[in-house]
Structures are given as C-alpha cells and as structure tokens.
C-alpha cells in the first residue's frame, strides 16, 4: 500500500483524487461513527420508552374491587402474623387489636402489590379513624401484628384472584365503622405499588337488583335483655374475661343514648318493658343465658334513611344466623323505633326524614345457638322495614351485608342501677 502511494506521489498521478478520497472517507467514517453512536442512544431511549409504555399498560391493567362485606371483624389468632400474646380480639393477658378482613378481588390482568391502606371517616369528630382530627388511619404492611398495619403476607394479589382477604389491625380505641350515626361511612383507600388508588365505601351502600336502597343499615348492632340474670350460666372463660375462671362480668361503661359502640347504651321510656329501660350492649352471646328461660332479648340496628322521601317504619324483621344447623333466626318482629331519644311502638312510628337515622328494635323471645365458645359467633344478615318503602328504588327489604359479631355480651342491671356481676 505504501509503495503504491509513493509511486502515485512520485509520478503525480491522480493525487488530488486520492487525497480527496481519503478526506471524504475520513469524514464519512466520522459521520458514520456518530450516526452509530446516536442510533445506539436512540435505541436505548426507545427501549426506555417501550419499557415505560409497558409499565403504563400494567398500571392501567390493575383493577381491585371490594367484595361484600368489605370489612369483617376478626377475633382470632392469624397464623404467621398475630401471636397468642398479641392477637386480634380480646384474650386474657394479651395485647389486643381491632382486626378486620378486607375482602378484595383482583379483576385486573396483572398481579397487584398493596403498599398502603388509608381509612377515612366522614365527619369531623368521633373515633373510627377521624379522631381527634379528620386524619385518616394509615396502615402499612407488617410482618408482625402492630397497630395501624396490615398483614404483609396478604400484600400480593394474583390476577383473577377473588374474595382475597387482607387482614388489618387497628388499636382497640379505633372501631369501624365510624360510630357516629350521623356520619357512619368509612372510605377505604388501597394504594398499590404501581401508583393506582382504589377506594370503596364501607359499610356498603345497600343495593338490590342494582338499585340503591333508600333505607340503609350499618354495622352497629347491640342487644339488650330483660329477665332474671343467672350468674351461674354466665360465659365462663370468655375472651377478655377479667378472671380466667370466672364469668365475663359484663362491665361496659354505661352511657345514655346515643352511645358509642364500646359502651352499654341506656334507652329509656321503652313501652312494654318492665322498668321502661333497656341497656344495649355489645353482641356477645351465650346459649346458656339465652336458654335460661324467661329471658327476652332485644336487638337494635341503626338504620338511615338515605333516600329522598320520608317514611314511617311501622313493621319489619331482622335475620340472624349462627354457625351450624338450627341456628337461623328470622321473622323477628319490629318491637319499636327509637328516634331522637324517644321510643315509638310500630303503630305510632314517627316519620323519618331523609338523612335521619333511627334504631329499629327487634324482639326475640327465645334463641337457641350452639355451645360457647366454639359456636358463639353469630352474624346478622340484614334487617327489613316492610312499611313505608313502596317503590322499586325503595325496596321493602334491604341488607347491609353480613357482619360478623363475636358472640354477645350481656349486661344486667342490679338493684342499685349500676350493673355488674352477680
């Protein structure tokens, strides 16, 4: 090659063409190198664009849907999360939490990782994730049970997985739903790792045949009873028992109407009840007391007129189901209505204005359930008001979804009027 170039230079033949060719070649090579380099950068950028487009597609493919009952209370040890000394519900000598199972279905086409759950409450005051300020409860994943956490093992939901339960824990001072009947709703917000936020209202808005009902019952249900208290038939060994081998000692703090879910609520001027007073307590129940004879039980359900028309609830029933066979109760008649601090028998039921709430009190003369504690869990599947609601949008029956209640506490009234154990 060098001999060829020397030959050309000595003979001065086509030197210009040679030099020009070399220059053009150099320029072309430089340009080619630049083009190759920029092409590689552009390819990398396009790869990033493609990856992010795929990311966006996955983001858009997430779809979590809450399934009835939305949240359900849990009173047991959750394997791998809670322990015997730090568990959901009340057990003697343990750290207690208010635990709930959130039932969720993944109707999207990609797996979802839940990174955080926010629970907001409507209204400005009260507990239920709104006290003392309207700050939401913020629940982060945790490998062990702790207040304001949810089970990290429940964090991933496969595509197509239905009725998946995410267990979450709140302090015992925070009860859901919001106990303030005027603001009964909670908003559950589920944030995912891809930045989507799915929310649902709980308790669910009642809906039958796709139509929202105008009467709406929420999760609070309390019971009262009249009759002779038989301490020997009290619930020995109950969860949260003050004395391990003694009766439960129904010692909830007494409050006049309206009271929060953690209190024994005193309703006065109840016609047809000896003494005219009923003490409604949290629903722990024992068949031994129920079967003691001569005992009449009362259950109230908080019902809100969510429609646009006023109506008078003059009749109705409640449906209660316990585990096993023969534990289904239905057609429990409406005993009366407690509205704005006054009791009304069904015949004189008041007019419930839209947006107002009332207690529908149902009467049970005899109940038979299984033997506690293994069969003490009951749930109520709904309540109905059969008068006053007369259109398709205002169906005569309405359901709030099944809500598990862990048994029934019984408070009795002593001669001094303070309540306590026999």
């Amino acid at each position: 090659m060098s001999r060829f170039l020397i030959f050309r230079l000595r003979r001065r033949r086509a030197v210009s063409a040679l030099i020009g060719g070399v220059i053009v070649l150099c320029l072309l090579l430089t340009a080619l190198g630049t083009i190759v380099l920029i092409s590689q950068q552009y390819d990398q950028y396009q790869q990033t664009v493609s990856n992010m487009a795929q990311y966006s597609n996955q983001q858009w493919s997430e779809n979590l849907v809450a399934i009835s009952p939305g949240l359900a209370i849990v009173n047991s040890t959750i394997s791998g999360w809670s322990t015997t000394t730090s568990t959901c519900g009340s057990n003697t000598g343990t750290t207690e939490y208010n635990c709930y199972n959130a039932t969720i279905s993944n109707r999207g086409t990609v797996g979802v990782q839940i990174t955080r759950i926010y629970i907001n409450s409507t209204g400005l005051t009260g507990s239920g994730c709104s006290s003392p300020n309207p700050q939401p409860c913020i629940l982060n994943p945790s490998i062990g049970i702790a207040p304001y956490t949810f089970n990290e093992a429940n964090q991933f939901i496969n595509p197509g997985q239905v009725n998946y339960r995410v267990t979450l824990a709140l302090p015992t001072g925070v009860a859901l739903p919001n106990p303030n009947p005027a603001f009964p709703k909670n908003t559950i917000v589920i944030a995912t790792s891809r930045g989507n936020v799915f929310s649902f209202q709980w308790p669910f808005q009642a809906s039958i045949f796709g139509q929202t009902q105008s009467a709406y019952s929420q999760g609070n249900m309390k019971v009262a009873y009249t009759g002779t208290y038989v301490s020997s038939k009290d619930y020995y060994g109950a969860s949260g028992n003050t004395f391990p081998n003694g009766p439960y000692c129904h010692n909830e703090t007494l409050q006049n109407y309206p009271a929060g879910p953690g209190y024994a609520e005193k309703l006065t001027n109840i016609a047809g009840v000896t003494g005219g007073t009923l003490y409604f307590v949290n629903p722990w129940i024992t068949s031994t007391i129920l079967e003691s004879g001569g005992t009449t039980f009362y259950i109230y359900v908080i019902i809100i007129n969510t429609g646009q028309q006023a109506y008078s609830p003059t009749a109705g029933s409640v449906d209660i189901t316990g585990p096993g066979s023969g534990n289904h109760l239905s057609s429990l008649s409406l005993f009366g209505v407690y509205y704005n601090g006054a009791f009304y028998p069904p015949a004189t039921s008041p007019v419930i204005a839209p947006g107002s709430y009332y207690y529908a009190i149902y009467q049970i003369s005899y109940v038979e359930v299984g033997t506690p504690p293994t069969s003490s869990v009951m749930w109520w599947g709904g309540a109905s008001i059969t008068n006053g609601l007369n259109s398709n949008a205002e169906d005569q029956s309405f359901f709030s979804g099944t809500i598990l209640v862990s048994g029934l506490w019984i408070r009795y009234e002593t001669s001094s009027g303070t309540g306590g154990c026999a």
Partner: protein, 165 residues
C-alpha cells in the same frame, strides 16, 4: 508538493473540525436522551391528601395544615423540589411521626430525595395571610378547592385536586 501539503493540512483541519462537531453533537444527543430517558422513567403519584381541621373550625389566626402523601412508583430515585397549592409555592415542614427516615427535610432549600417505592408525607402550612373566605380549609360554608402540584427536579409534575376539608 506545496499544494499537496496545503491540501493535506486543510484536510486534517477539516477532519478534526468534523470530528469535534460530530463528537459534540453525539455528546449532546447522549445527554439529551439520558435526561429524557430519566425524566420518562420518573413516576410518582399523590396517593392521598387530607386537611387538618376540627369540628368547630380553626381560629382564623392559625395556619391550616395540608398533608400530601407522595409515592415514588417509578424504577428510579427522584427528587421532589417544589409543591404548589393553588399556584402558591409552599415550603413543607416536617411530615411528623408518620414519615419514614428517608423523608428528611433539611434547611430552607427544599429537596427531598425519594427512593424507589418510598412514600413521603409533606406537611404544608396554608398560611393565614393567604386565607380568604373562599380559600380557608376550615370554612365549611363554601366549597374550597385546592389544586396541588408536586414537581420533581427533572421537570415532571403531578397534580391533585382536593376539596377541603
């Protein structure tokens, strides 16, 4: 021979100039694509906003608080550099006990680095001086809409509209 040398010199200069030009061009494009690629990979969301108010309302002399939760859901770390509320640049204060250790606020220069997957709570004081009757979070008599914009160092923004309280 002289012409050849001159030609070769000019050719060398031309090639050097072309190389430098192409080099700076490719370098610039590399920087452009790198920055664009990083900006493209930034993904962050405002997943929750709530306001601090009481049942009876806060006194008009007290600043209100707006809590903004921002999560980095992209594949790269990001820096949050500004938060605007209704067009006003607000300086976040400490996020409180709910904030993890990586969401630290230092000095007056507001830049919060967020790792991949991290969520930070930004506590904003809506100043009393900026409170008109139509824009007080505690004034429930009017519909108060807040347009919240969070901006990153790479120029990305996310917006969130919230009604208070």
């Amino acid at each position: 021979m002289l012409m050849i040398l001159i030609t070769l010199s000019l050719a060398a200069i031309l090639v050097a100039w072309a190389g430098t030009s192409f080099g700076s061009f490719s370098g610039g494009s590399q920087l452009f694509f790198a920055q664009r690629g990083q900006a493209l990979q930034e993904r962050f969301v405002i997943e929750e906003v709530f306001f601090n108010a009481t049942a009876t309302g806060m006194p008009a002399t007290v600043d209100q608080q707006i809590f903004v939760f921002v999560r980095n859901v992209g594949p790269i770390n990001i820096n949050i550099t500004a938060i605007y509320v209704n067009g006003t640049l607000l300086q976040p204060v400490s996020g409180g006990s709910r904030n993890p250790s990586w969401c630290t606020f230092s000095g007056t220069l507001f830049t919060v680095g967020m790792l991949v997957g991290a969520v930070c709570e930004f506590s904003l004081n809506w100043p009393n001086t900026a409170c008109s009757p139509n824009y007080c979070p505690w004034n429930t008599a009017v519909t108060t809409i807040f347009q919240i914009v969070v901006a990153s160092a790479r120029g990305d923004q996310v917006a969130y509209t919230a009604r208070a309280p």
